[in-house]
């Protein structure tokens, strides 16, 4: 059996490039659909309690970017 190797996270840089107009649209969409602040159903549960924080890389995502990654249509209007 091979011994295996240690895998090091490559990057932890977060970005924040969502325009204000899209942010406003996302906030309204969340309110209208009774979602949690991450744009997911209200009963959602996450690894480590926070979907914005990636424990395998140390990356902290921007909340709006996270929502857009799951709901790309919100950025297209």
């Amino acid at each position: 059996m091979e011994d295996g190797k240690i895998v090091v996270p490559e990057s932890y840089q977060a970005t924040n490039s969502v325009p204000e107009s899209v942010k406003n649209r996302i906030d309204q969409w969340i309110k209208a659909n009774d979602l949690n602040e991450f744009g997911d159903p209200i009963d959602s549960v996450y690894i480590g309690g926070n979907p914005l924080f990636d424990e395998s890389t140390g990356v902290s995502k921007d909340r709006y970017e996270y929502i857009l990654s799951n709901n790309p249509e919100l950025g297209e209007l």
Partner: protein, 596 residues
Amino acid sequence: MKVFQLLLITFLFKVGAYAENPEKPKPEDGKIVVGNSFTEIDHHVTDGIIVDFKNTVTKQQIKNFETKFAVDYQQYSLYPEEKIGLIRLAKGLTNLINRLRTSPLVEAVEPNYIYSLVGEAALRKNISKPKDPNPEDFQDPYYKHQWHMAQINLPQAFARVQGHGAIVAVIDTGVAYEDYQGFKRVRDLNETQFIHPYDFVDNDAHANDDHGHGTHVAGTIAQSTNNGLGVVGVAPGATIMPLRVLDGSGRGSLGAIANAIKWAADKGAHVINMSLGGPFPSSILRKACKYAADKGVLLVCAAGNSGGRIGYPAKYPECMAVSAVQYDESITFYSSRGKEVSIAAPGGNVRVDQNGDGYPDGVLQNSIYAKDNSKDDYMLFMGTSMAAPHVAGAAALLVSAGVTDAKRIEQILKSSARYKGDEQLYGAGLLDVGNAVNQAVSGTAWSRLLAAFLIAFAFLKSNITRLLHPLSLLGLIAFGSGVVPLGFNCHVDQFPGFLCYPIPVWDQAFLGLDVANPIFRSAFWVLLFVGFGYQIKILRPFLQGMGFGLSGFLLVSAFMPQVDLDYIPIALQAEFIWYILNALLAAMIAKHANPK
């Protein structure tokens, strides 16, 4: 002597109803990228103050607050409803903090430490040197990079217990525990035991991991250890119950978690680890937590990675909320905080290399690749998800040492932790599993021994010197403390480890940790031995010693119960009364067991 025999017969009649090296990968592999500088916290530099307002505070009240203290408050937390924000200022920090803390609107006020890029040399300059892993402690070649195991003082605990007999449910993304339809058991769980798996996402009996998180968590708890491979776990003798509630994206629903908690409680788990959570409370989840706690299961939860308030289920009183520290034992930037924090444990920080071992300071365990579930390696993760399983593993060690009462386990973990100050960050302090096991095994034993001598002194008064007879001491130790206080460093959870324990808990050694027979923990022994051995004069010193030893054992058990007694109701302090009455009975018999 007839009195003793009559007592014995009566007692037996009354209680009859109870009868029952690999080398570091080469740079050309392209897998290890370690820079010269990392983001690090400087505890001497701040750019302002973090203020945590109470939930009930309105926007208008915050405006009034800004006016009153002449400050500018900016929302800080990811969660808008949390009302955690920043007040920027350059001077007069301490004075303002003290003033703000007087406001009835705020829950907490603390400096906002700056995270900045600094060189490694500068970084290490101000770090007190924590204990580093000694590669000779384990036969697992990557242990030298597991600073987190040294931080919790694992080798000291490992000399005594390894978790055998304890069952820990891992409610997570599943665990890579079997070779099944493309899934593979990871190499460093090759000797780990598994029981009652279930997948609450796909509703089948194969809780395989398609993410990697759950396997990493399970590894911290029970990685196969001293197997010549990779890394170590806190309690490798423990049995893991893999329960999958989060999908490959790391998300799940409260309903699945509630079902998994009930499953774990019904299937005999002693400890449940939940390195997950959500921002909202749920009556279903709360009910499930209460159900498990009422069944005597210890719930260990990650406090959360928001840097703000603690989420659910960690916030529930039934759960031990675990915050995360890094190599230098300071709280991590991401660790959630609040009065609900029970204890701190290593969660790591892959943005720094404070120990200078050439790798980021994450928690190192064996896990799968998220993109290829059939491949595994040694992954450096960071998060309160990584901190919680250190505590769950420690709890498993205590179970293995015979402490199965969940409240007592929590009490020992907290009282043995290394106090770190601010309880909203560190709770009772930093987990010290060496101290915890020591307290569970030796600490209690010494208490029993002391109690036995005090009781003997109260009953024998001037005749106390009789207890110095070697046979008296033998009886006292065998039934009161076990041999542990004498310095024997035996593996109490492995054969013949039962010899380390006092005889009244041998039922657990032979019948399993979930057994706690009240007859074994009563004056039964002294009635039995005195009833049949009193006629043999040479045995009388032993009988007296065992009587007082047993009395000491029972008295300490009344105040520090290690287990929930079978058949004895919890209500009306029945267990406490049972122990006290039996302690008195044992002492009274012992007093007369060795007359002049």
